[in-house]
Each structure stands twice: as structure tokens, then as C-alpha cells.
Amino acid sequence: MAFPFISVIIFTPLVAGMLILMLPADRKAEIKVIAAAAAFISLVLSLWLFFTYDREAARLATDWAGRIQFEEKIAWVPSLGLSYHVGGDGFNIPLLLLTSLILFAGVLVSWHIEHRAREFFAFLMVLATGIFGGFAALDLFLLVFFYEMAIFPIYVMIAVWGSTRKEFAAMKLTLYILVGSIIALVGLFAIYFKAGLGTFDMVEIYQNGNLDATFQRIWFLPVFVGFGVLASLWPFHVWSPDGYVAAPTVVSMLHAGVLKNMGAYVALRTGIQLLPEGAKFWMPFIVFLTVISIVYSAMVAMSQRDFKYVFGFASVGHMGIVLLGFSTLNLVGLTGTGVQMFIHGAMSAIFFSIVGMVYDRAHTRDIPSLGGFVRIMPIPTLAFLIAGLSSMGMPGLAGFVAEIQIFIGVWLAYAPQHWWFPWMAIIASSGVIITAAYIMRVAYSVFFGELRPEFADLPGVTLMDKIAVTLLAIPLIVIGVYPSIIMPLAQTGAASIASLFGGA
């Protein structure tokens, strides 16, 4: 059997977490090193997967099953049809890479955590395992297992280590996502039973399950919207701003950067891929929600006083763009979405990590009170500008590459009975200019302008922080200048889904 790359990626953090729990609480240095090492191993292996995935073979394959590589399948509970089935394709490999990048950057950014560090990093490792597993799972039950595994540690991490109204925010976030996932779970069970194959295996259901059109139309909405709650689909996004503001930095980074992507990814895999008839029916209406999300959250972000709230809403808006790409159901739009998921993750992680750096020093997130921070932290400011420009779709950076594909995909999604798609493209584009306005405003107010005397002696950022933001900013530049590094991969992933709807 080939080396189980994906399982190692998934379980290394869990093993590290257990090791961490066995250490005495005061050995903080060792704890952090173990966490960083686990993240680093996952990062190296995900990079390996990213670059060795055979794009040519995937392009020639005829259906989804042919495009899954690094596959591992072990029967778990055969009588119930549960198996440990994981694998990588063009959609989830970039997301695995994104997770490991943000995990590694997040560990570096959390290096200074002192209060109950052992438990913090242990929970972080469990969270990581849940996320990796959620992306790689190809069995419905396994998927839900990892999904829930990712949700619970967040509740504890926000409630114990968070800030502004942490208990309230933690409860709100967890309840919302949980209710959403339970509704979706009911839908998944419905799929299991209706498919009549006695298995939870997604690939088998995809290939052989005979789910009739009516069934699909009924159950698409619970499944897609249930998981869409985690993807902050408007109007179910309300847990997100409060949750992110309250969460400790690394949790915000992982949540905005990765968990929302996981919600979207799972909604895609189980909703769109397994219930295409339902998708065809409902997505042209869901597109309205996504466009509202984009424009509304940009406008709300504009009016925020709290630095972190701006980016809480910003990430809702960017997920709106991801979901807009989903609604196109064509090759161009879905390819753009695959890239946008990756980019949105990197951008959000940069934003939240820098918010954390500013807050740790200034102990305030009130925008009017800040200013001039470029003198204290020049490298994070540069990373912030790169992420900010990318988020407004500045050509030359990655955001433009993803957004242009999605917008063109929206144009192509036009059909006589869904004539509104081009209007959606135009309205969504207006979100770009609002994004530009609030990003420039925040950038100026926090980083440029006058440095207040009370902040004049603040320490700069550590080497760990610099490495973290640089690591996250590099993909934004590289993809912007050389999109072919990710585009063919995303395209093979998108092909599996677009082919259900008639290709490009």
C-alpha cells in the first residue's frame, strides 16, 4: 500500500495533542515546539500532495472516482456500511494545504499564550485533526464525525481564552453551527436510506445511488443550507462577527480561514455533488442570498468601529463570493471558487493574525484610537496591504484571478428561466468598490497617520509573527502572478462537479 499521506496529515495533530496533554503544564516551550512540529509535518505533506497530484491523469479521467488520488479505504463497521475512506482531488487538496498553512502560521502567532497553554494547544491539535479529516473524508458518516470533532474544541477555546463577551459568543457560534449541522445530518441520513446501497460511502452513492429528482429537490435545501450556516450563508451568518471578535487570534484565523471553507466544501460535496437535481433547482435562488451577503456585509464592514468586526464581516462577504461561484454550476465559476476558497482562507488568516498583533500591544481594537502602527510593525503592515488589496480584487494579486473567473462564470450561468445572473454579476461587482473603500479606510486609520504617544513605545512583532504573515502572504502574490500553479488543479476538481451539470 502506498504511504498513507492523508491519514498521516489527519492524525499527526491528534497524536501531538495527546503528547502535549501528557506533558506537565509548565513545560510551555516543549508544548509549543511539539505543536509547531506537528503543524510543520502536516504542511510539508500537504505541499507534497499539492505538487505531486497528477493533474494530467485527473484531466483525462472521466468521472470523480477517477480523479481521486492518495486514496485510502478501510472497512470500519461493514454491517452499517461505514468505512474509513479518505482521498484527495482537485478541490480538497488545496484546502488541505490551506489548513496546514494556517495551522502552522496560527501556532507561530500563538507562541506567547501563557494561560493554560497546554490545554490550549491540545485543543488546537484536536481541532486540526477534525478539519483535516473533514476535508479528506469520502464517507458520509466519517465526514460528520470529523465535522463535529472540529466544532466542539472551538466552543471551549473561545469560552476560555477569548475576549469580548466570550461566553455569549461561544454559545451563539456553537449553537448556530450545531443546529445547522444537525439539520444537514438528517438530510445525510435521508440520502443514506434513499440511496438503497447500505453504505455511507460518498463515491458509491455518487456513482450508483439512484436518488430521484423529487427527493433531491426536497433534501437539497436542508443539506446545503445546514452546512451553509458554517459557510456564513446570509442570513445565517450572524454567529460569525461576534464569534470572531470573541475568539483568540488563532481560532479566528482557523475559523475564518478554514472552517468556513469547510462548511462550503461539505455543502458542495454533499449538497451539490450528491444532489445535483436539487442544486439545479435551488441554486439560482440561493444566488440572491450570496449577492446580498457580498454587498450587505461590505456595507456593514464599512461602518464598524471595532477593528476585528470589520474583518468578521469581511469574511462573510468573501464567503459570499465563494457561494456565488457555487451558484454558477459551470466549470469556469467552480474553478474560480476552488481558487477563491484558498485565497479567502489566506487573506482572512492574515487579517485576523494582524488584528491580534495590534490588540495584544494596544489592548484596544477601537479604530479611531489607533493609528501609525506601520512604525511599530512594518512587515505585518505590508502583509495586511497585500491581503487587503487581494480582497478587493486588485489585479496582480490572487483575489483578481479568482474573482474574474467567478464573475465570468456568473455571466455564463445565464439561462432564459434564470435571466437574473448577469445582474447578479454586476451587483456583486459593486461589492468590490465598497470593499476597496473600507479596506483603505481601515488601513489608513490603523496603520498610517499619527502614532499616539501612548503607543509610541510598543514592542515590535516577533520573528514568529513575521514568518507567519509572510508565509500566508506568499501564495497571494504567487497565485496572482502565476495562476497556473493552482488553476489546473482547481479545474480538475471543478470538472467532477461541472460534468453533472453539462460541463462548461
Partner: protein, 511 residues
Amino acid sequence: MDFILSHLLSLIVFTPLLGAIVVMLLPGHQKRLIRWVAFGLSLIPFILSVVLWVNFVPGEPGYQFVEQADWLPALGVRYHVGVDGLSLTLILLTTLLTPLGVLISFSIEEHVRSFFALFLFLETGILGYFVALDLIIFFIFWEIGLVPMYFLINQWGSANRRYASFKFFIYTMAGSLAMLLAIQVIWIASRSIVPTGTFDIPLLMQMRPFTGEQVLPFLSQELARTIAFWAFVIAFAIKVPIWPVHTWLPDAHTEAPTAGSMILAGVLLKMGAYGFLRVVIPFFPAEAARFALALAILALLSILMGAYAAYGQTDFKRLVAYSSINHMGIVILGIAVAATTLGTKQYAEHGVMAYNGAVLQMFNHGLTSAALFALVGMVYERTHTRDLSAYGGLWVVMPAYGGILIYSAMANLGLPGLGSFVSEFLVVRGAWPVYTLITALAMIGLVMTAAFTLMAVQRVLHGPLNPRWKELREITWREGLAMAPLMIGLLAIGVWPRWILDVINAAAQFL
């Protein structure tokens, strides 16, 4: 040498970026080192563009020095670049003004490294825009030009810089959004002829994509053409700027640091006019012809309003800013004439004349506005005021400066023997039979240009010497060196314009 010639355009476009990176790597406190290294690096694109000029063959149709490479195959976007007479002229202008701007900026003391790095980065954006032959690449470089300019104004500008930079950024970005929409619509329409769609400019020009069958049922080719045309017009009109979407310019030019204003007025404004000539007229000849009269009227308003507003200014720099609106109005008048006469037999040669005039005016105005802004900057550095009424009698203290200011002012108002006369004459001569009334009124504008220019000169140089300025430094050799190429260029064009008109005319013939 062969490698250089075959990749000349990419080298010209990207050497400033490399230069910017080199500058960033220099030690931050070694200001002299940074300044001279930046100057040296900025000369490289200039030398390369002279090589380009010499090796360019004016009579040949189509684009020269073409380079192509795949960039985003999924959408059919290719890195496709090339030059013709029009873009060559503007490349030369850009690569000439950048080193001069660097020289003028030696007085910048704060964050010197970042300043010059941003300045060089800006040059890459502008040069890439002028050589792009693929709409997405075109758009990318257009946008890339925005960010460094924002920071240059925002960080190194004067008192009202925050407002001015924000206004500049958002205003022009709104135009960019219109352009993005237009590009998307063109792509959709192009699918009627090329199934996977194309963004390639030469191909789209040949294809006339809006004559095929309609691709999307609600989007007739007629509608697509109209939307794309107006969206492009709005985007470029904001950049030129044409009255009434010019209001970002006075603030941006006034608040920018001197070199920023030189590049802003000297080159960035031309990006808008270039867009009209490269995209709007070739892609939409019928709509352009229909819109030409309105464009000519707006041009006239720019000329008159710009001159009138300039006359009323008390701030020296703001006066020069309004003068830019005035001169770009003449460019747009020439473009309007070219749009009207395209394809007609009767006034074809007038159209060509007006086109030549417009492009030459772009080049001339680049030189004169750079010169004037540089001179404003010099006097500001010495007196720390831009208030015209605070000056007076500076001729006595700085005679060499005064001489250069008078020379540049004469160039600005179109004195025969200096460049602007040739371009303004060509535009007027070309426009006269086509838009007689408008041209007559525009000539009143030219008189007003003379009025405000001379008014400014009088306030600065003549009159009783204000005692505050008794000890002012004369113009330094460095500043003089920066002014020299501009003055020589203006004289050369004024006296023997053939060397540049041959190149421009080639492009005009093939429109």
C-alpha cells in the same frame, strides 16, 4: 543583444519593478546611496526605450516587438504585448519622465527607500499598460498603476493628502469597475466568433465581435456593444480627465509630492486618452462617430473651464493642475475629430492631422506639465508656500530659475518654435472644417491659457521683490539637469517635429 531585442518590451516593463526591489534592499538610512541608485536604475528603461525607438520601423503595419505567452489558459488570457507608433511615443515619455522625477525628488527625507521603490513600481504599471495587447493584461496594469500613486500622495504629499489620495483612488477605481464590466461583456460577445472567448486586442479589432450572432438571449450584440462602449468611455473619461468627471484631479495633483505630480500629469492622464485611441475607437467605430460631437463639446468645456478655473487660482500648483485639464481638452478634441472622420473620404486627412496633433499634444503636455510641476516644487521647497500672492520679484533673486520658468510657460501656452504650438496647430487645423464653431470657441480657450500662464509668471517673477525671499537659493545643477531634457525636447519638437511625427503618423494611418 538578440535576447534583449526579442524581449525588449518585457524588459522595459519589468526592469523598473526589479529596480524597485533592489532599492528596497538597500540600507534605509543611506539616503544618498538610495537616491543615486534609484536614478541609475531608472535610466535603464529609458535607454531600452531609446533602443526600441531606434529599432522601430515607422511604416510597417501592425504591432512590433510582439511577445506572447499563456497566462490564464482557462479563460484564454495571454500575456500579449506589442508596440505601435502610439504606444511607442508614450513609452518614451514615461521612461523619460521617471528619471527626471527621481532627480527632482532628492529632497525627500522621510522613508526615502519606500518612495523610490513605489515610484519605480508605478513605472512598471504604466509601461505594462501601454504595451498590453490583451484586455485582461491591459486591465491588470491599469490597476497596478493606482496603488503606488495612492501611497505616494498619501504618505509624501502635502496638507490635504489624505482626502486627495482617497478621492483619487476611489474615483479612478469606480472607473476601473466600469472597465471590468466592459471587458466581461466583450468576452461574452466574442464567444459568437471564438467559442471559448478571447481577450486579445488585435484579434478583437479584426473580428469586430459584435457583429456575430448573439450569445446570450437577453444580451443582443447591439446592447452589448452599447454597454461596453459607454463603460469604457466612463472609465477613460475619468482618467483623462474630461469635464465633468475631472474633480479628482485638482486635489490629487496639488497634494501629491512633486515627482508624483509630474508623473500624474505627465503620464497617468495620457493613460485615459490612450484608452480612447487603443480601445474605444478601434472597437466601436460607429458608436464613437456618433458620440464624437458630444465628446468634442465636453473637450471644449474642459478647455474653457480648465483655463477659467486656472485663472482664478491663488495656489500655484493648483493653477498648473487646472492647466492640465485645459491641455487634455485639446487632446480630446483631436480624438473627437479622429473619431468622426474615421472611414470618411471627405475629411480623412483632417482626421489624421487631428490624431497626430492629439498624440503629439499628449507628448508635449507630458513635457510641459512635468516641467511646470517641477518648477512649482522648486519654488515651494525654497519658500514653503504655494500662494501666488506671497511671491513676487523672484526674478531678481533667481534669474536662471526665472528664465526656465518663462521658457516652460511659453511652451505651455503654445509659443511657435516650441512643441505645443505644433500639436495645437495640428489639432486646430484638423478640427476646423469638422467642428468649426467648437474650434473657434476652443481658440478662445487658448487665449485664456496664455492669460493665466502669464498671470502666474508675473506674480511669481515680476513685481517688487518680497523681502522674505531675499536669500533664496538659485536653481541647483541637479534641478537644472532635470529640466534640461524637457526643454530640449520641447525645442526639438517645436523646430523639427519630424522625428516624432513620423512615428505617430504611422499609427494614425492604420487606425
